[in-house]
Each structure stands twice: as structure tokens, then as C-alpha cells.
């Protein structure tokens, strides 16, 4: 087996097949059945609710058809305005998130930046926090009149920062979506063979620029994938816009959909039409990404050799500069909002006057006595754990089928595992609600409807994570095993699975976090007895219990980080054992 470095993997059509053994052929048949089963499950999970979105959307208010209203939605000036708002915020926000996220990932994974291990944990904190709470924290910090930063610092300098302004919203969006890029980019960077970097250094380029020039392009597929997903996520983001943009009557597509659905009676037709537009945009973007990736050479970087990634030494000056930048970012994006929440949680009535009046632990005491908190935390934990494991199994199978077989159904699988990202949570929830309140599968009123919703919504997350690690793995590794007589299943278990395990662990982590704070579909699908964290927090926000909300949010953030750290620890141990 050669030490494969970079080389074009070639299109699927050109992939070579090894000699076929009997077990190989048998495996092929089992594979075909499995593939059909997989496609069947995905179709039901994804298409069935989406079909219901259309059915509900095309039902008029009086039971008749609503095709006219459906298409008329597209000529509404408010829709055009919302589309423009969505794009002008989300494109710069995504770009910012990608730049900061990938540079940060590079600094943490490949350099000797100070406290890299802590940075690695801290930087994902905003991702763990519900954007609703995060935006609220930023209002506390940077509302034009009473924001703590304005009062304490900027007003004295004669400046007022306004978090409700366009740059303010872009900033908050970038802060909340940057960790997503970071997780993908750092995962990919950890898998890259450092020999490539060494080669560049040997050829005379200095260590620093070699690292950037070699590593960034090598992980470009992962970053590009993350970028697409990030953009799609920003397009369907709701909380940030509801808190920061709606007060100026600036709507984006998601808040417009929400408005349609919360009018009286609910305008599912307008919501459905707007959702179709979102869907179309995302499909277009994903298609463009695929084309782009096909025309590039794809880089296979994980060969059959074991290695331990080396970190480059930045030198004293570089180390200080890079460390200062990283820690400065963490202080701004993570520590400040947490402090803001802490301050709010310590006042029984928060008035933005930081006096000692009313300072105390009332909110924390109330939180500890609130029975719903524990119930919601338990529900959220088990739901997120179960649903992310289920999604992981599904997406690993899907990603493997897509990348290792010249077979029909590839496009369909790709489509099915990508589409949910394009459907805003509030809209998907309508489809899921309809799909599982009607026979034959009635899950409504039970916790299982949330389970199914979580799995459906997060298929793209798991898919992107597993796919990214598969893309970097050369198929020679499997072929060698197959030539040596291993069946397909055995190849998968002994070769593929251990190698993509880090990607799977990353996928699991991301999905768990995302589910643990999932709001937009939970709020429509939960019923009494299965309340989850996010719904409880929305409830607190709605009731103006901001002190308790801030306290709970801090507790959940710390708990999630601890859980994720534990998972990472465990998976690393498993990884070394099987490697």
C-alpha cells in the first residue's frame, strides 16, 4: 500500500474495481437491499412531511384551493424586501464566519497558540447557546441607550454602538455561526497528513506560510461544505432576527414565514410559498457547491499511514500576536455575553443601573426550585442523545453508499440528506405536524414526534460531517482489504469506520448540541408532558423572566460544554484503541 498523498481521486466513473471474491458479490446484493431500505427511510422521513407542507399550503382557508394566493405571494413587495434583507445580512455574515472560523481552527489545531485546548472548548460556546438567548445577551451589552458596553465604555468616548443596526446584526450572526465552521474546519485539519506541510518547508517556503498555503486548500472541501451549510443555516435562522431586526420592522424570510403562520387565521399558503423560495435558494447553492467541487481536483489526504499531526512553532512574536487575536475574539464573543447574562441573572429586576439594590441570588433560587427545569433538561438530554445517534447511523450509511459505490440513487440520497437544511424549522414542523397527526403513523402527542423531527432536521449536519471525512480517505485502503478477501461489511467495519470515527464524533457532537437547543420545530410539536429546554426558555422569555432565563442559559451552556468535552475524551480513547 503506498503512502498516498495528494492526488486526484478521479470521478466515480473512473474508480477501479478490485478482483471480486464470492463474499464481495454477496455483499453487493446485501448492499443493494440495504441501499433501497436506506432510500426508503430517507424518503419517508424527508419527503413525506414536505409533501404535507405543500398539501397544507395549497389548501385555501375555506377548504378550497389556494394556487392563486400561492403564486401571488411572490409578487408581494414584503417578500422581495425580506429576500433582500436575508441575503444582505447572511452573505457577509457567512463570509465573516468562514474567515474567522477557519483561521481560528488553523491556529488552534496546527500552531502552538497559548491555551489552545481551552480555546478549542471556549470558541464553540456561542453555538451551544440558543440564538434567542445570545441575541438577548447582546441587547443587554449593546442596546443603543442602555447597553452596558455603551454606558460603561463607548458613551464616554462619544460613540454609540447599536446592536439593532445592520452591522450589529451581521456581527451577532457571524459570532453565532462561526463555531459551526470551526468545528468542521478543525476536524478536517486534524486529519490532514502533516507530511505535506513538511514537503513545502523542504522546498524552501517558511513554516508559517507553508502551513497556511498548504493546509487551507487541503481542507477547502470541508470548509466549503461547512460554508454551504452555514449559509443555509443563516438563511433559516430565526431567533437573532426576531430579536434584533423585527423591532425595526425589518423582516427576513424566516420571520416573514413566522408572521404568516401566526396571523389569524394562519396563512399556510404564504408560509409555504416563502418556504419554497428558501428551498430553491438552498438547492441552488448546494448544486453550485457540487459543481465547483467537481471541477476542482479533489484532495485525498488520508492515506494508509498513521501519523500524529505536528504543530508549527510560531516563534515568540507570532505566538503572542496569534494568541492575543484568538483570546481577544473569545473575550468578545464568548466571555462578554456570558458576563452580560450573569449580570442580568443577579438582579431580581434588571434595570441596566448597576447598583447594589436588588442584587442577589433570587433568580438562581427560583430556578433551583422550578420543577419544570429538571423535567425539560431530562427530556432534552435523552431526546438529543437518542436522535443524534439515530441520525448518525443513518447518515453514516448514506455517506458511505454515496461515496463508495457506483450506483444509482446517489443523487437522490444527496438530495434527501441536504433538503432539510433548506426548510426552516418552523415550516418543517408544520409538515411533520401534519404528517404524524394523520394516520397511518400517528406520533402526535408523544415524544416520538420530536424525535422524528430532530432526526429529519439534522440529517444534513450528520451527512456533512461524515461525508467530509470520507472525502479525505482514499479508496485504495478499502480496495486493499477487499483484495485480501474481506467482504464489504467487514471492510466497512474494520477499515472505514475507524478512519471516519473522528468525523462521526464531530457529527454527533454538532447534532447533539443543535438538538439540545432546537427551538423552532419543538415549539410547534411538543405537547404537555414532553416540554424541552428551548421551549421552556422561550416561555421564560415570553413571560419576561429574563433573570431566570439568563441563569438557566448559563447552567445549560456549562452542562453542554462538559458533556461535549466528555464525549470528545471518550471518542479519542476509542479511536486510539481501534487504530
Amino acid at each position: 500500500m503506498d503512502l498516498v498523498a495528494t492526488r486526484p481521486a478521479g470521478g466515480p466513473a473512473s474508480s477501479r474495481r478490485p478482483e471480486r471474491g464470492a463474499s464481495y458479490v454477496q455483499g453487493r446484493r446485501a448492499g443493494a437491499v440495504g441501499r433501497l431500505l436506506l432510500i426508503g427511510i430517507l424518503l419517508v422521513l424527508v419527503c413525506y412531511p414536505i409533501l404535507w407542507i405543500f398539501i397544507r399550503g395549497l389548501q385555501g382557508r375555506d377548504g378550497g384551493g389556494a394556487l392563486g394566493r400561492f403564486f401571488r405571494t411572490y409578487s408581494e413587495p414584503e417578500l422581495v424586501e425580506a429576500l433582500v434583507n436575508s441575503l444582505t445580512v447572511n452573505v457577509p455574515a457567512t463570509a465573516l464566519a468562514v474567515v474567522i472560523g477557519s483561521l481560528f481552527a488553523w491556529a488552534v489545531t496546527r500552531t502552538d497558540v497559548l491555551g489552545g485546548r481551552f480555546l478549542d472548548k471556549l470558541v464553540v460556546v456561542p453555538f451551544v447557546t440558543m440564538t434567542l438567548v445570545g441575541s438577548f445577551a447582546w441587547v443587554v451589552l449593546a442596546a443603543p441607550r442602555t447597553g452596558l458596553l455603551n454606558v460603561a465604555v463607548f458613551n464616554r468616548l462619544g460613540i454609540t454602538i447599536d446592536i439593532y443596526s445592520r452591522p450589529g446584526i451581521i456581527f451577532v450572526m457571524a459570532v453565532y455561526f462561526m463555531p459551526f465552521v470551526y468545528l468542521f474546519a478543525s476536524g478536517a485539519l486534524r486529519r490532514v497528513d502533516p507530511a505535506l506541510e513538511d514537503a513545502s518547508v523542504i522546498c524552501g517556503r517558511n513554516r508559517f506560510s507553508s502551513s497556511l498555503r498548504i493546509m487551507i486548500p487541503l481542507v477547502a472541501p470541508a470548509i466549503l461544505g461547512a460554508m454551504i451549510l452555514t449559509f443555509a443555516m443563516t438563511m433559516e435562522e430565526f431567533g437573532v432576527f426576531a430579536i434584533l431586526a423585527t423591532p425595526q420592522r425589518e423582516y427576513v424570510l424566516t420571520t416573514l414565514i413566522w408572521r404568516y403562520m401566526n396571523s389569524f387565521p394562519a396563512d399556510y399558503t404564504g408560509a409555504s410559498a416563502t418556504a419554497c423560495l428558501l428551498l430553491a435558494i438552498t438547492v441552488l447553492v448546494v448544486w453550485a457547491q457540487r459543481r465547483l467541487m467537481r471541477s476542482r481536483r479533489s484532495f485525498v489526504t488520508v492515506g494508509g499511514r498513521e501519523y500524529r499531526p505536528a504543530r508549527i512553532h510560531l516563534g515568540p512574536v507570532g505566538r503572542v500576536v496569534v494568541s492575543a487575536l484568538c483570546w481577544g475574539y473569545v473575550a468578545l464573543a464568548v466571555v462578554l455575553p456570558a458576563l452580560g447574562l450573569l449580570v442580568v441573572s443577579l438582579y431580581s429586576v434588571y434595570t441596566a443601573n448597576l447598583t447594589t439594590d436588588g442584587l442577589g441570588l433570587d433568580n438562581w433560587r427560583r430556578l433551583a426550585q422550578n420543577g419544570s427545569v429538571l423535567e425539560a433538561a431530562r427530556n432534552s438530554f435523552f431526546l438529543s442523545l437518542g436522535a443524534s445517534l439515530a441520525t448518525l447511523v443513518l447518515t453514516t450509511a448514506a455517506a458511505y453508499v454515496m461515496h463508495r459505490h457506483v450506483s444509482r440513487g446517489k443523487g437522490l440520497i444527496l438530495f434527501l440528506t441536504t433538503v432539510p437544511v433548506a426548510v426552516p424549522g418552523v415550516v418543517l414542523a408544520v409538515g411533520i405536524f401534519q404528517a404524524y397527526i394523520h394516520p397511518p403513523v400517528v406520533l402526535y402527542g408523544t415524544v416520538w414526534i420530536l424525535f422524528v423531527a430532530y432526526v429529519t432536521r439534522h440529517l444534513p449536519y450528520g451527512m456533512r460531517a461524515v461525508e467530509a471525512s470520507l472525502q479525505q480517505m482514499h479508496e485504495d485502503l478499502e480496495h486493499s482489504a477487499a483484495v485480501a478477501g474481506a467482504g464489504r461489511f467487514r471492510v466497512f467495519c474494520t477499515i472505514v469506520l475507524p478512519l471516519i470515527a473522528p468525523g462521526m464524533a464531530a457529527g454527533f457532537t454538532i447534532m447533539f448540541i443543535a438538538m439540545f437547543r432546537e427551538l423552532s420545530s419543538s415549539v410547534l410539536l411538543y405537547s404537555s408532558g414532553n416540554i424541552v429546554n428551548s421551549v421552556l426558555m422561550l416561555e421564560m422569555y415570553g413571560q419576561g423572566n429574563n433573570g431566570e432565563l439568563a441563569a438557566l442559559s448559563l447552567v445549560l451552556t456549562v452542562a453542554t460544554i462538559a458533556f461535549v468535552a466528555m464525549v470528545q475524551r471518550l471518542t479519542r480513547i476509542n479511536l486510539t484503541q481501534s487504530g
Binding site: N262, F264, P265, G544
Partner: protein, 361 residues
């Protein structure tokens, strides 16, 4: 739901596709033919026993959970029947209920929201049970449906709230028309009429009473629009904005008296919108006896006292005591709209308010 609409998929995509469509067609066909026959309904005196047999009761309510739970727990304590609470905003409840009814899978026994047109609409569709609660005798006729499908659980007055410190010496408004005064420019927060029943009704009543110009004038003050009165209260308490219009009286009252927050409020001299929060038993309630028992309890003097003392909302019972710091309910200059008309015109009114509140750029 349009039942029995069999469609044969013509595309031969894949067997799985056909299966999915098949499931769908079955689903559509199946949900048409379901008839529910509920258990018999006991006489009022036998309700506690019959309700106990049913085991549980579910209450869909727009009263915030912290309050709903207090009242529900008292009910459970008294009758030994647990209450499944489902709490969300009035519009969300209305839509959820409509979808559940549409699918023939109603989860609610008792329904309460502060958007009266919901009740008019549900009643028209035959979804509300006709039940002459013994408690109705204690209420003025204006607050009980003549056909006995709903009563009034609480009433919310719409006030103008303000933060004296944030006003910085400017006198607070006392009438709705004051709000268009340029001296309040940039000071006003408002609840967006798109998002909630109370502010929607209040804004509509302003247009009815003063014409469109008043709302245009308020919009020209560059108000900050938020989705709920709680969010609005927080803006005022922190002083980010000085004046909150369309504020719920109970929200302002509990902020001031229960939490000691720096917030004051006035019932405007010229006109007060009062939004009755109705309460009804559903026709197809899964637990019809428990539903009636809970309905009666919620309207009883005992529960209504909690509504006044804990929530700070008005009870419309004749024997309700006055609330500290609030005018007597009967003294408010109330104008009630035609709820049926309002329900029918909701979309048009929403469009109108949306246009009016749009800031001139």
C-alpha cells in the same frame, strides 16, 4: 380535510416513492371517516366522581405557565385530578387547536385565550360544547356567551406604561392622542399587532375611535416594535424606551407591585380597550366530565381570587374585590368591538395596521 381523494401516482420513480404516496393516500382517506362518540356527561353534582374516572384533564391556555400552574395545582389538590397544561400565545393556540380539530385528534379539554374572535370562530364551527356552567350566574351577561359556549376567565385592560426616570422630566402621556406628540419621538415601544391578539385589538380600536391618522402619527415617532408585552415591559424597565403603548395592565401591575420595577401606568382618560379572555369546554373533549369540572373551577370565586391576587388580571365576577392600585373594573370606559366582525376581517385589519405602523423611510 378533503377526504377520499384517491390519486394514483403516475410517475414511476422508484418503489419507495410509490410507497410514500400510498401511505399519503391512505392517510387522506383514513382521516375522513372517523366518528368519535364520547362517554356520557354526568350531572353537575356527579362531575367530581365522573371526572376522577377519566383520570386527567388537559388545559390549553394563554395564561403564562407560572400562573396557570398555580391554579391548576390548586384544582389537582382539590379534586385529585392532574392537569396537563399546554401554554402558548393566543394565536399559536388558535392555530394548534384548528389543526388538531382538522385532523380529528383534539388534545384539549378546556381552552382559554385572550383572543375573543377565536371563540366566535370555534363556536361557529361547532367545536365548542354548549354547557350551562353553574358559575355563569355570578357573571354579568356581557361576559357570558348567550348560547352558553364560553365564559370569561379574566379581562385585560390595555394601558400606557412608562418609566418616569427615562422620561427625564417630560410629563407622561395620559390620553392616546398624546402619543403622537413630537416630544415623545424615539421614546415609544409597542407590541407588534402582527404577533398578538391584545395589541391587535387595541390598535384596531384606536383606528376605529380616532381614525388612521393617530396610528400614522405614532408610527412617525419611530417606535420600537417587539413581539410581546413582556419584552416591551423589559424595554421600559431598563429605560431603553420610556413609554410602552398597548401594555397589558396585569403585566405593568405585577412588574410594579410584585417585582418593584420602575414602571408606572395609566388607564387613558379617553378610552380603554378591554380584552376578555374567554374560557370554553371543547365539544370533542377527550375527558368531557373532567373538562366541565375544570371549567367550573376556573370560573369559581376561589380560582378568580387567584387570577386577581396573583396574576393581577381583572375578574369579571360580580363579587370580585377591587385590586390595589387599579380602578374598579366597572369604572373603566370600555368599548367592546363586534368580535364576530373582527374575526372575519382579521386579515384585512392586519394588512391595514401593518401599513399604518410601517415607518416612513
Amino acid at each position: 380535510m378533503s377526504a377520499h381523494r384517491h390519486r394514483r401516482p403516475t410517475m414511476r420513480v422508484r418503489s419507495a416513492c410509490t410507497a410514500v404516496l400510498g401511505i399519503l393516500v391512505l392517510g387522506i382517506a383514513a382521516c375522513g371517516g372517523e366518528e368519535t362518540t364520547g362517554p356520557p356527561i354526568a350531572a353537575d353534582s356527579d362531575l367530581p366522581a365522573a371526572a376522577k374516572q377519566e383520570g386527567v384533564v388537559s388545559w390549553y391556555t394563554s395564561l403564562p405557565e407560572q400562573y396557570s400552574k398555580v391554579i391548576a395545582d390548586k384544582f389537582t389538590e382539590k379534586y385529585g385530578i392532574p392537569v396537563d397544561l399546554f401554554v402558548t400565545g393566543s394565536m399559536g393556540l388558535q392555530n394548534k387547536l384548528a389543526e388538531e380539530a382538522n385532523a380529528g385528534r383534539l388534545g384539549a379539554d378546556v381552552f382559554h385565550s385572550s383572543y375573543p374572535p377565536s371563540f366566535v370562530l370555534l363556536k361557529e364551527e361547532g367545536l365548542l360544547a354548549t354547557y350551562d356552567s353553574p358559575e355563569y350566574e355570578a357573571y354579568p351577561p356581557d361576559y357570558v356567551d348567550p348560547d352558553r359556549t364560553y365564559g370569561t376567565f379574566r379581562a385585560t385592560g390595555v394601558v400606557i406604561a412608562y418609566n418616569p426616570e427615562a422620561l427625564g422630566g417630560t410629563p407622561p402621556p395620559t390620553r392616546w392622542q398624546d402619543l403622537a406628540d413630537p416630544r415623545y419621538r424615539g421614546m415609544i415601544a409597542a407590541a407588534d399587532p402582527q404577533y398578538g391578539g391584545t395589541q391587535f385589538i387595541a390598535d384596531h380600536m384606536l383606528v376605529q375611535k380616532y381614525g388612521e391618522d393617530l396610528l400614522r402619527g405614532i408610527a412617525a415617532q419611530q417606535p420600537q416594535l417587539v413581539d410581546s408585552q413582556s419584552a416591551e415591559a423589559n424595554l421600559i424597565i431598563t429605560g431603553e424606551r420610556a413609554i410602552g403603548i398597548d401594555m397589558n395592565d396585569y403585566e405593568a401591575w405585577s412588574s410594579k407591585y410584585r417585582r418593584g420595577a420602575p414602571i408606572e401606568y395609566v388607564y387613558p382618560e379617553d378610552h380603554v380597550t378591554v380584552v376578555p379572555g374567554y374560557l370554553a369546554v371543547l365539544e370533542d373533549a377527550p375527558h368531557p366530565n373532567a373538562a366541565r369540572l375544570l371549567h367550573n373551577y376556573l370560573l369559581s370565586a376561589e380560582a378568580q381570587k387567584i387570577v386577581q391576587d396573583e396574576v393581577g388580571a381583572y375578574s369579571t365576577r360580580r363579587d370580585a374585590e377591587p385590586i390595589e392600585g387599579r380602578p374598579a373594573f366597572s369604572s373603566l370606559p370600555v368599548t367592546q368591538p363586534d368580535w364576530k366582525q373582527l374575526g372575519e376581517d382579521t386579515t384585512a385589519i392586519q394588512d391595514q395596521l401593518n401599513d399604518l405602523m410601517r415607518q416612513p423611510q
